[in-house]
Symmetry: C2
Subunit: 544 residues, 2 copies
């Protein structure tokens, strides 16, 4: 993983000339005046962690698994939001942890938490490091130091229960390896977010990740049927059945807690049969409104395909749904939808219908043909025109490419960032307008693109990508725009995040969303599980 950008530097893409022209002529983007620094130039603060504490940590997890070297510290500094990357490229390592600790077991995690609680050391659980909401930057005030708790050594597929179709897996498993391990048993999680190549299972759970195939396989929080959590007060073991009426669902308290309540050390996850057949195709709608209505109909009356996304007019024009072919501008009017089918069982493709939407299955014989036919009938009836497999396959090739594209845009001098929200169907037009208006008011004339990324029976999510010319202080420029657009989302009745999470960046908007008493619930839980407040301080819960 590139320390100051995304993924494998070898996969960085050159921007095609039409995009360069768009940046230059439409947005007024200029090549940056300063070059990005090398990793050795990053300015790191002195390690403040007292040596005896480091000694205790080394005794707990082994000396090799406590690292204070510059390279480890830089690579555990912040996440992958655009402001994070801008700060790193400017050589600002001010938020680096003092040390990186790599526990090898649940017992190790308990012991590290005990030591850190005793010495008031803040602990930032670290999975793939892909947070885009400031989820990996602890508030140092009042602490003797900060350690990044890297869960990379907890990377086993512990067991598979083929009868229950569940697997026990460890939190440090990166998604591709998790898929490879499950594939040996004929299973898949079916969780493919844009961060797939680097993100970990623990991060998916802690931040309520949602993937590109969530229409078919469900969100990650739907997949978690059990978990073990290490806290400074001991161990939580949750999940004895798929569903229960025994009190509040405490799994749902840990899911989305972003390391502020405890460290997930094991997950029992629902698995599906690995698909025997996959197909993706493109559909064109006259307008975002018409396309949204078609998606709503699929979500409410079925059948749901496995993948379903709809770009608005601007995103369609720029071709962002197909990052591999970006720049094939003006590829047609209207809005492009990507529709995908994956066949995971004898009687049909994955179909979650996770909030009780129509659900998905094919006809009697397996395979995807019947489902595809029925989805096509709905989409055609709603005014859609099938573009055949090419746009779908192109989307599939580029499905993890957007973060690489961001690196190229940043290098070209643009500011580019994404944000997302969700709401009920009847409120989506207002939410869409509010976000666009706010971004235009803050940033002059940015390029604002949007797609419906996930659908449910009662609502959907909207995922925005913003590209704008950079001001003299691009971090401050974006942060000002981000505050305004977050306020606009809250005011328009949307949730501040559909799948990125809260972190530090959404903390105040989140507090406004759940209200004072909602924040009190979080404080009440944290006070019991983490009375010293060492777990990811500053994330999720506003300081008092």
């Amino acid at each position: 993983m590139l320390w100051s950008g995304w993924g494998d530097p070898a996969k960085a893409s050159e921007l095609p000339e039409p995009i360069r022209a768009l940046l230059r002529d439409l947005l007024g983007v200029r090549a940056p005046e300063t070059r990005a620094v090398g990793i050795e130039e990053v300015r790191l603060p002195a390690v403040t962690l007292p040596p005896p504490v480091l000694g205790e940590l080394r005794a707990a997890v082994g000396a090799d698994h406590v690292r204070c070297d510059d390279d480890a510290r830089v690579r555990h500094t912040r996440g992958k939001s655009t402001p994070d990357l801008m700060r790193m490229r400017a050589g600002d390592g001010s938020e680096a942890p003092d040390a990186v600790v790599l526990p090898g077991s649940h017992a190790d995690v308990l012991e590290v938490l005990r030591i850190c609680a005793a010495h008031r050391v803040a602990v930032v659980p670290f999975g793939g490091g892909t947070s885009v909401v400031g989820g990996l930057t602890a508030d140092r005030r009042g602490f003797a130091g900060v350690v990044a708790l890297d869960l990379g050594r907890l990377d086993r597929l512990v067991s598979v229960d083929a009868e229950s179709m569940t697997a026990e897996m460890e939190p440090g498993l990166r998604a591709p390896r998790a898929e490879r391990l499950l594939a040996r048993h004929g299973f898949t999680l079916g969780h493919f977010p844009q961060s797939f190549e680097y993100a970990t299972l623990g991060g998916f759970a802690a931040a309520r990740s949602s993937g590109q195939a969530s229409a078919g396989y469900g969100r990650f929080d739907d997949m978690v049927v059990g978990m073990t959590v290490a806290t400074p007060r001991g161990t939580l073991d949750l999940g004895r059945a798929p569903k229960s009426a025994a009190g509040p669902d405490l799994r749902q308290v840990i899911l989305g807690s972003e390391g502020a309540f405890g460290v997930i050390t094991s997950l029992r996850l629902r698995v599906r049969r690995a698909p025997a057949e996959r197909a993706y195709e493109g559909w064109r709608f006259e307008s975002f409104q018409a396309g949204s209505a078609a998606l709503r109909r699929l979500a409410q009356e079925g059948p749901l395909p496995t993948v379903l996304r709809l770009s608005d007019e601007t995103e369609t024009m720029v071709g962002l749904a197909r990052p591999g072919e970006i720049g094939a501008l003006a590829s047609g009017a209207g809005c492009l939808a990507i529709v995908g089918y994956e066949d995971t069982g004898e009687s049909g493709p994955a179909g979650a219908g996770e909030d009780g939407a129509g659900g998905t299955t094919t006809g009697t014989g397996g395979g995807i043909a019947s489902l595809r036919e029925r989805v096509a009938a709905v989409l055609s009836g709603a005014g859609g025109v099938c573009l055949g497999p090419e746009p779908g396959e192109s989307w599939a090739r580029g499905r993890y490419s957007a973060p690489y594209l961001r690196d190229s845009l940043l290098a070209a001098g643009a500011t580019v960032e994404t944000l997302e929200t969700a709401g009920f169907w009847s409120g989506l037009p207002r939410l869409y307008d509010a976000v666009r208006l706010s971004l235009h008011a803050s940033l002059g004339s940015p390029l604002v693109m949007c797609h419906v990324s996930h659908v449910y029976g009662t609502g959907a999510s909207l995922y925005f990508t913003v590209v704008t010319a950079r001001s003299g202080d691009p971090v401050a420029q974006w942060e000002t725009a981000k505050r305004a657009v977050s306020d606009a989302i809250v005011a328009a009745g949307g949730t501040i995040s559909h799948h990125h999470g809260v972190g530090r960046d959404h903390r105040e908007a989140y507090a406004a969303e759940i209200g004072e008493l909602g924040v009190e619930i979080l404080r009440g839980i944290k006070g019991r599980l983490d009375p010293e407040g060492i777990l990811n301080p500053g994330v999720l819960i506003p300081p008092l």
Copy 2:
């Protein structure tokens, strides 16, 4: 609602002779020596609530809406578990509230909670009064009195959002009226638990109800997309989107909280199109094991019908799946499954696949024929024999009759009670055996019947009915057996309740299930929302 039994006394059924013979000859049940008392004979404790507090409550909600008369107090004493009914029939009104308060609005509820918190008066939220787990009996110790907060006046369908397919409904709505109000808009909730005739929407949410058609429509907790909650500390407004990554799902904290955290005053619920067509049928399997395997296959690979339940050999023999025809003993060997199909939309019947199972939809044309055909293919392939519609229609006619049947059995001198659990598929055989062994060990030779009541991709629930001869102290007899079987469920890895809830009766087993830290989470939340601890004290959370 009968104060000492279930429902409309006019619907009480006479026990057929084969059942009387079974009770007499097989179980040794004898006619009770003492007659049940009349309502006017119930012994009530003196009202301890100070008159000034009653005055404040009257000022808050109107004098007509604060009742201290014996009739109101008796009708708000306890719930509908068998020990509850036994105590009521014996004239024991010792757990009656001092007063019944009927708020007319969210603001009324806030004010009542404020008054009660100021004077340390315990508040028991009361919907349909159908709890079977001691959810309506407050712990009086340390309180100036107890009021039952009857939500019956909060009974409006506030609004319908047809585009989002949601409805805002008040908690005091009983299910049949809720369905009638929604039917005017062409919608249904699709929630049909055995308590349907009397239970309320607020109770469904607070106790995580699950209905007979949950395979198709989902559990009630799946239907709740938003809620307003009154607490002693103020108002919680939750749910801005179907799903969110903004922190823990706080709706899931209130769902299942059984009135211990707050009073639900409004619900935003997902609705479905009212079905145009319904059909139910019976299937026979050679054994419970074979039938369970068939259900598992439907849950994991689809397609799921709308209703799916499987009786074990004993329940099949007694005919309990069809209470209207109970006593048609020895109606064939093996195990009876009830399979139902309801058509709620153009592209297919309700299919929730709520934990991401195969999901449900028919073929292209609507109607239930295609789904029925595909389900039949799976069931036949798994060794099932279709018995045609008669057993299904018979089940549908008697679907709310079992509680009436219990009254008749109690009157005949038997002890009859139900209990339920859920687990992952691979653990179900052990759970099934553990419950049966425990009941036999406690009760000699009881009649123990079981059915799989709900299925998920990763597991299922087991619902047990126990009939036994009565000892000299039948309440103590059952409570001893209940403690043992609860311990057995916990030891076998099951959850203590799949849809009845925790109340007081499952409190200790629940604490064992979620562990000390789980209980600490509950205490942390309660401490913030209800610092004086007035809300349903003694329910859900073990006293310190």
